[in-house]
């Protein structure tokens, strides 16, 4: 744990205290860290000697310096929920928070690989539909005897339709390629550290 994480935890435990009380308490511990640094102590050593932030909070409570704000919940249930929240918060500060950039990287990689794959699929779909529709238009397809056939269109129209479809497919393909490039770049960066 670093000094900042430790002070963050203190701020969390004292979140219901009066602002000026919390200010004073935090500044006392900041001064303690400064004095510790002058003795060439590390964050770890200072924190080890200070003890758990929760214990410190409880010491202030038992000395009657701060009073706990009364909530709606009472008794054991309240204590249980509070303990659970305290634990989650502590875990967030000590384990999750330092890893956040990592999670962020994972998330963006997932976004790139998903959108890349989707783009490729969309490109394939575009071309497939274009080919089929172009063919059906050219033979003036009539699905059933009592349904009107596709209208007769000029060769130029069919050609334009075909090219538009191919162009749309190409666009999707390029988007997909860009996504995969980004994904690979992130992976390489990760491997290189």
């Amino acid at each position: 744990m670093t000094k900042e994480q430790y002070l963050d935890l203190l701020r969390y435990y004292f979140r219901h205290a009066k602002a000026e009380d919390m200010q004073e308490i935090i500044s006392d511990y900041e001064e303690h860290f400064r004095s510790g640094y002058e003795q060439n102590l590390t964050d770890e050593a200072i924190i080890q000697a200070l003890g758990e932030p929760k214990q410190i909070y409880e010491a202030y409570l038992s000395e009657g310096i701060i009073t706990e704000k009364k909530g709606l919940l009472k008794g054991d249930l309240k204590e249980d929920i509070k303990d659970m929240l305290d634990k989650a918060q502590e875990e967030f500060h000590t384990t999750m928070k330092p890893q956040l950039p990592h999670y962020w990287q994972e998330a963006s990689k997932a976004v790139f690989i998903t959108s890349g794959t989707l783009s490729y699929a969309l490109a394939a779909l575009c071309w497939f539909i274009t080919l089929i529709l172009t063919y059906l238009l050219s033979i003036q397809w009539q699905p059933l005897a009592d349904v009107a056939p596709l209208p007769a269109v000029s060769l130029v129209t069919i050609g334009a339709f075909f090219l538009t479809g191919v162009g749309a497919g190409l666009t999707c393909l390029f988007i997909g390629q860009e996504c995969f490039k980004q994904y690979k770049a992130k992976k390489v960066k990760e491997v290189l550290g």
């Binding site: 006392d28 000697a49 200070l50 758990e52 410190i56 010491a59 310096i65």
Partner: protein
């Protein structure tokens, strides 16, 4: 050791230390933790309570190395309390020692 007893003893030590000289927080923590095993962080709430009970008062003093430091000075009420507590402690500890010596002689 039971924390309640320890808390009382640490209070006695803090007041005793301040009867000799004014100190800033870290000095108090550092000196006392050399003698008594404890969570150093629990000294600050104690100091805050002593201040609230007007046994000690605080003032700021410039330091050579950085921002000003909060110093603690014992008040006259604090000195009177200290003398009383010291006497209580001496009576208590000598009684305990006498008792334990008696127990050990029977071994």
């Amino acid at each position: 050791m039971k924390t309640q007893l320890k808390k009382g003893v640490i209070e006695l030590l803090v007041l005793g230390l301040l009867t000799q000289k004014n100190h800033y927080g870290y000095e108090i923590v550092d000196t006392i933790s050399d003698y008594v095993e404890m969570s150093e962080g629990s000294i600050y709430p104690l100091l805050k309570r002593l201040q609230k009970d007007t046994l000690v008062e605080t003032y700021w003093e410039e330091s050579i190395s950085g921002p000003p430091r909060k110093y603690y000075r014992i008040t006259s009420t604090g000195k009177a309390n200290y003398r009383e507590m010291l006497l209580e402690w001496q009576n208590f500890s000598s009684a305990v020692n006498r008792f334990l010596e008696g127990v050990n002689h029977h071994d």
